[in-house]
């Protein structure tokens, strides 16, 4: 099958939906002629024009809130926040408005918006441009939260997100933007809230998402070839509402669990996964403590070697797996 990048897959999802549904439109900083800070939307302005692909001033609070206001009145906006770190400026609008409108209004409103935003470290942009704050959004009833790990998932999940009638935070992974994978040309959906077993195995379960998925798969393949260890990798893809069953089932099967994410470990999403397993039937099947490997307890540093070490490195992942299997 044709291979395209993660960024192209995202562009394709937006483009297909905008062709299909005149209510879908797109706005954000430098997404027009410039094509977005990461080039994700190159060419969309040319295709759809300035009514549906709108460059905005640097005003994240109104961007997020306007998406909610547009959505609740009958359109399907996609708003891009240039780096996920800047959602902080629109946090009230996202969490107090978009996420809560439906409930506060007794179910008599819906807010079908998508907030697309790149997350993560690894680009040398330091502390204010490199965070992975998905744990925050995962904690907010009313929001959905999606983090795709492959071009295929990115396209299918984004189409689902655009069609979904709720506010969806769609966190893209900077370090995956240029990564290629097989993606059908036609439109298709990958359902939200469906965890995906990205690799089957019997010896140990890794729960991970986003950019850590390919890293963990590589390690797993390597260890399979070298040591005959078979690691199962479960990728929740939608972090809220979470489809926990496949995670619990895998933990039951392997009895050993490692949770990996780039986000700061303390207070990170991995805590929720660990807690769910520790309070599930799988508890009785565990042969070892539930291990987590997240980012160090620091802001992301600038120096490349420090930056690399601020998040789980392949070396540390390997070591932790070995520790768990020992």
């Amino acid at each position: 099958m044709r291979e395209i990048t993660y960024a192209e897959a995202i562009r394709e999802a937006m483009t297909l939906e905008m062709r299909r549904d005149p209510d879908v439109f797109f706005f954000g900083e430098d997404i027009g002629l410039y094509g977005g800070a990461f080039g994700v939307s190159v060419g969309m302005f040319e295709e759809f024009g300035e009514e549906r692909v709108r460059d905005t001033p640097i005003s994240e609070a109104v961007l997020v809130g306007a998406a909610a206001g547009a959505a609740v009145t009958g359109t399907r906006p996609i708003v891009e926040i240039q780096f996920s770190d800047f959602i902080t400026i629109g946090m009230d609008q996202l969490v107090n408005q978009a996420a809560k409108m439906r409930y506060m209004f007794g179910g008599r409103a819906q807010v079908p918006m998508v907030l697309r935003t790149p997350a993560g470290s690894g680009t040398g942009a330091a502390a204010q441009h490199s965070q992975s704050l998905e744990a925050w959004y995962a904690h907010v009833p009313g929001l959905k939260l999606v983090i795709p790990s492959t071009p295929y998932d990115a396209k299918g999940l984004l189409i689902s997100a655009i069609r979904d009638n709720n506010p969806v935070v769609f966190m893209e992974q900077k370090l995956l933007y240029r990564r290629k994978g097989e993606v059908p040309e036609e439109s298709y959906t990958v359902p939200l809230s469906k965890s995906d077993v990205k690799r089957e195995g019997r010896d140990l379960t890794i729960v991970t998402y986003g950019r850590m998925v390919p890293t963990c798969i590589e390690i797993a393949d390597e260890m399979s070839a070298k040591d005959g260890v078979e690691i199962e990798i479960v990728d929740p893809r939608t972090l809220r509402p979470l489809d926990a069953e496949p995670i619990i089932a895998s933990a039951k099967k392997t009895g050993r669990v490692l949770i990996v994410h780039e986000a700061v470990q303390f207070g990170g999403y991995g805590g929720e996964i660990a807690a769910i397993i520790a309070d599930s039937e799988a508890f009785y099947y565990l042969d070892a403590p539930i291990r987590r490997l997240g980012g160090l307890d620091i802001p992301i540093p600038y120096n490349p070697e420090l930056e690399r070490n601020a998040v789980p490195t392949p070396e540390r992942i390997r070591e932790t797996i070995q520790g768990l299997l020992a």
């Binding site: 209510d23 439109f25 009514e51 549906r52 709108r54 905005t56 001033p57 005003s59 994240e60 609070a61 109104v62 961007l63 997020v64 809130g65 306007a66 998406a67 909610a68 206001g69 547009a70 959505a71 609740v72 009145t73 009958g74 359109t75 906006p77 009230d92 609008q93 107090n96 408005q97 409108m101 439906r102 409930y103 506060m104 209004f105 007794g106 179910g107 008599r108 409103a109 819906q110 807010v111 079908p112 009833p141 009313g142 959905k144 009638n165 709720n166 509402p241």
Partner: protein
Amino acid sequence: MATKQQTKRPPELTKEKLSDIYLKMLQTRNFEEKVAYFFSRGMVHGTTHLCAGQEASAIGACANLDESDLITSTHRGHGHCIGKGININRMMSELLGKADGYCKGKGGSMHIADLTRGNLGANGIVGGGLPIAVGAAMTLKLKKKDNIVVCFFGDGAINEGSFHESVNLASIWKLPVIFICENNQYAMSMSAKRSMNIDDLSVRASSYGIPGKTIDGNDFLEVYHAVKEAKAYAKTNGPMLLISNTYRFKGHSKSDANKYRTKEEIEEWKALDPIPRLRAWLEEEKILTATELDGIEKQAHEDIEAAVEYASNSPDPSVDTILEDVYAD
């Protein structure tokens, strides 16, 4: 204490329309008196923010709107709701947290919304409604609808970043929004004088290259005319900022010792109460007779009694519904 209301009466303000307007102002006042009573008796938990004194501003603005025009409101939104044609029974039910309330008892005073009539909701966040109004106007633009959005907010909200970002965005996209700042002189205990270094808040329009105008928010006709003009303007030219000067007669919320303002000041403003002012004008202009006006007052009273009756008979929401309404299918 001027009764300025002598401004010309436009033809569309028929007797019926004006009767309805007067009724709505009274309903608002009476509604809130009931609410205040309930709160003072502890019959309702939580808090509420009364707009008594500000009815001309709310009802006068909304009198220009069709059902398909949109509004965003604030924590002090009872007048906006009634102005936009809400069902009072269900509004009262919501205040009492009942199942028949607009939000099935889940929203309460600060979150009443009626999307079927273009009311995008009160808001518990000061300045929270402005970005939503801008987004709603984006929908109107995208769908090429000939409607407008009226965005209400206070003199406190005008100092939130969301004001600045919202008005700027609306200005460059020429979105059909009327930003109405109901300047009741205080944001909780902070006077507009202390919170801003300017006297006339309408100067803030110039930061966005849009028209700004300050009006007597206690004069129904002045509000009506200003919003009428602004509506025509907004449809073709984009946003406008109106500062509607007014005053809240009651404390900020149920717990307010009013330490920050004087009795004299309150009395001065009570003399400018928009309700008797409108009544006086309606009589002077011979639009309605004293008897007719009395009748409307009685009607308003009865409407609210009926709403209380309705709300009291409405059941509490079942605890089984607690998990519903978080996500749409």
